[in-house]
Symmetry: C2
Subunit: 313 residues, 2 copies
DNA sequence: CGTGCAATG
DNA sequence: CATTGCACG
C-alpha cells in the first residue's frame, strides 16, 4: 500500500512477522545483533560428511503438544530431520509412556523416558532417537537428593559420546529452591558428567534454567533476583560447567548475538521477543566438531522453542 | 433427498434432533410418554393475570457457562423472561461474587449467593431476582453439620411465600456420604422448611439429587445402588418432603410422563436421553397455584437443564 | 467428560 | 497464561 509508516509502526510490523529478528532491548549494549535463523546459519555440510543432528526442546507438557494438530514432535522431525530429539518437561507419567511412544514412533524407534515418580505429571525428560544407543541410564545414580525421583536426567550412550537430556530444577518463586539447585543439583550433575567423561566425551543438552550472561536475558537489571538469573546460578553455571571445559556452543558460534529460547506465557512476550536464553547445547571435547548450533524461534507449541546442534563425526 | 430410511435410521434421526421427545427406555412400562416441551405446555395465562415465573438450574460451574458465548443466564432471561432464577453448583467463591454479579446484572438487580467456604469452587447456590425480596437467609441456621459451610441453601422471602434454592449433597461414589445425606441433610432441610412454613408457604426448588420413582430414571434396575436412586434416598424424599405435604409439581401435572433434567457428561447420554429427573420444583400450599411446571431440555451449557414453574398469585 | 482448584513455571 | 493432576459429579 501507499501508506508511509512511522518508525514505531515499522518496528511493530517487524515484530509481528518475525520478532526474534528484532532486538527488543531498549539499549542494545556494544554491537549486539538479534539472531536470525534465516541468515545466520552456515551452509549445509557437503554430501557424504558424517554428521549427527541433535535437537532439544522443553515442550512444557508433551500431551498438550501432541494434541495440537498444527504441530507435533514428528512434524518437527519432518522439517528438521534430526537424528536425536531431547525433551524436557514432558510431564509424562510412567504409566503413559507406552501410549506416548506410539504417538511418536515414526522412524524413531528408540525412545527413553525419565519420569517423575515423586510428583506425577511434573518435570520429566526423554531422548528420542533414530539411532539405537549402546546404553541408557536414568538419573545420575549419585546419592544425595531428589534428583533421580523427578525424572530430570536421561543419558544415552552413542559410539563417540554420551548424550544427556536434562531439565535443571527451577529455583522457584521466592528462590525457595535456590540452595538445593546450586548445592545439590548443579554439583551432582557436574560430578555425574565428570564420571562419564572418564570413558567418553559428553554432550550435555536441555533446559539448563540459567541465563548465563546479560546478553542472554531481556531485562538483566530487573531480573537479578529472578530464578534463572541470580548471581548464584550464573556463577554455578560457570564453575560447574564452563570452567570444567564445557562450551556454550551457541555463544561460541555467535558472540554478541541475542537469541532467546524461552518466552513464558505470562506476559505474551513471544511477540515482543522479551525473554531468556535458557536452553543450551553445551558439549565438552566435541566443541571442535560443532558445525551449527542454532535456534528455531518460530516453532510454537511451548513457551520454549527447540534448538539444534549439528555435529560432524 | 429420495433416500428411504429404515426404522432404525428414523429413530436415530429423531434422537439427533430432539432426543427428549423419544422414550429411550427399552421397555416403557404402562403407558409412559416422553415429555415434549413443545406440545405439553399449557397456553399462556390470560393477559393481566398476576403470576410469577421461577426457574431453577444446576449450572455445573457458572464461570464456564458465562464463557460460552452461545449461551448465558441472561440469554435464558431473554428467552424465558423469568422473574427469579435459582442456581445450583455455581462453584463460585465468595471473593468472585461481585465480578459474577456484574456479568449477570441486566434487569436482575437482586442476587444472593451462598458459597462454600469449606471447599473453594465447590457446590454453591444462588437466587437471582428482578423482584426485591423482603428478606434473605443463607444456610439453615440449624445446628449439626457442614450444611451451612458448603453453600447449599439460600432462601429469599417474597410477599406470599419463601423461595429456597438448594443443592442437596450427592451421596457420592461408593455411597460414602449416604448416611450424612439422609440422617443429617434431609432431616435438617425438612426441619428448616417446617420452621419457615409457620409464617408463610414455601416453594422448595433446586437439585434435590434424587430420582424419586422408576419413571424418573433411565435404567432403574441398574441404578438401585447408585447415588440419587438408592431406596434410602427415595424413601427419605417421600418421608421428609412428600409426606409433609410437599408436591412434586412436574409429576402432578404430568403423571406417566418421562422427563429428565440431568444427563451427566460421562457417557455422552444427552443425545440418547438416558438419564434422571433430579431437579424438582416442589412446593407446599402453593400447589394449587401452579400454572405450569416444565422442563427445557434443549438448553445446553450444563449437564442439567433448567426447569421452570409458573405460579398464579 | 467436564468443572474448578492447586502446584508449577 | 499455560501445563498437569486432583476432587467431585
Amino acid at each position: 500500500s501507499s501508506k508511509v509508516l512511522k518508525t514505531d509502526e515499522v518496528t511493530s510490523s517487524l515484530v509481528q512477522s518475525e520478532p526474534w529478528t528484532v532486538l527488543a532491548h531498549k539499549k542494545p549494549e556494544k554491537d549486539w545483533k538479534a539472531y536470525n535463523p534465516k541468515t545466520m546459519r552456515p551452509p549445509s555440510l557437503p554430501e557424504g560428511t558424517k554428521s549427527m543432528k541433535i535437537m532439544t526442546w522443553n515442550v512444557n507438557g508433551l500431551r498438550a503438544l501432541l494434541k495440537l494438530e498444527s504441530f507435533s514432535a514428528l512434524q518437527l522431525a519432518q522439517r528438521e530431520n534430526f537424528d536425536v530429539l531431547c525433551l524436557q518437561e514432558t510431564k509424562i507419567q510412567v504409566k503413559d509412556v507406552e501410549e506416548v511412544k506410539k504417538a511418536l514412533s515414526d522412524g524413531y524407534d528408540h525412545s527413553f523416558w525419565s519420569c517423575s515418580v515423586s510428583k506425577l505429571g511434573y518435570s520429566g525428560t526423554a531422548i528420542i532417537s533414530r539411532i539405537k544407543p549402546l546404553s541408557v541410564r536414568y538419573g545420575t545414580g549419585l546419592s544425595g537428593s531428589d534428583h533421580d525421583m523427578e525424572g530430570r536426567i536421561v543419558t544415552a550412550e552413542f559410539e563417540s559420546f554420551y548424550l544427556i537430556s536434562t531439565y535443571v530444577p527451577n529455583s522457584g518463586d521466592g528462590l525457595k529452591r535456590l540452595s538445593y539447585r546450586i548445592e545439590e543439583w548443579d554439583k551432582t550433575l557436574s560430578n555425574y558428567i565428570k564420571e562419564l567423561e572418564k570413558s567418553k566425551p559428553v554432550v550435555l543438552t536441555g533446559d539448563l534454567n540459567c541465563a548465563h550472561e546479560e546478553i542472554d536475558i531481556y531485562n538483566p537489571a530487573g531480573n537479578k533476583r529472578s530464578a534463572g538469573f541470580t548471581i548464584e546460578e550464573r556463577e554455578s553455571f560457570r564453575e560447574n560447567f564452563l570452567d570444567k571445559g564445557f562450551v556454550d556452543t551457541f555463544r561460541k558460534q555467535h558472540p554478541g548475538v541475542v537469541g532467546y529460547t524461552y518466552w513464558g506465557y505470562r506476559h505474551g512476550t513471544r511477540k515482543t521477543n522479551k525473554r531468556w536464553r535458557l536452553d543450551y547445547l553445551v558439549s565438552e571435547s566435541m566443541a571442535g566438531n560443532v558445525h551449527d548450533s542454532y535456534i528455531l524461534p518460530d516453532i510454537n507449541g511451548s513457551d520454549h522453542c527447540p534448538i539444534g546442534l549439528i555435529l560432524k563425526l
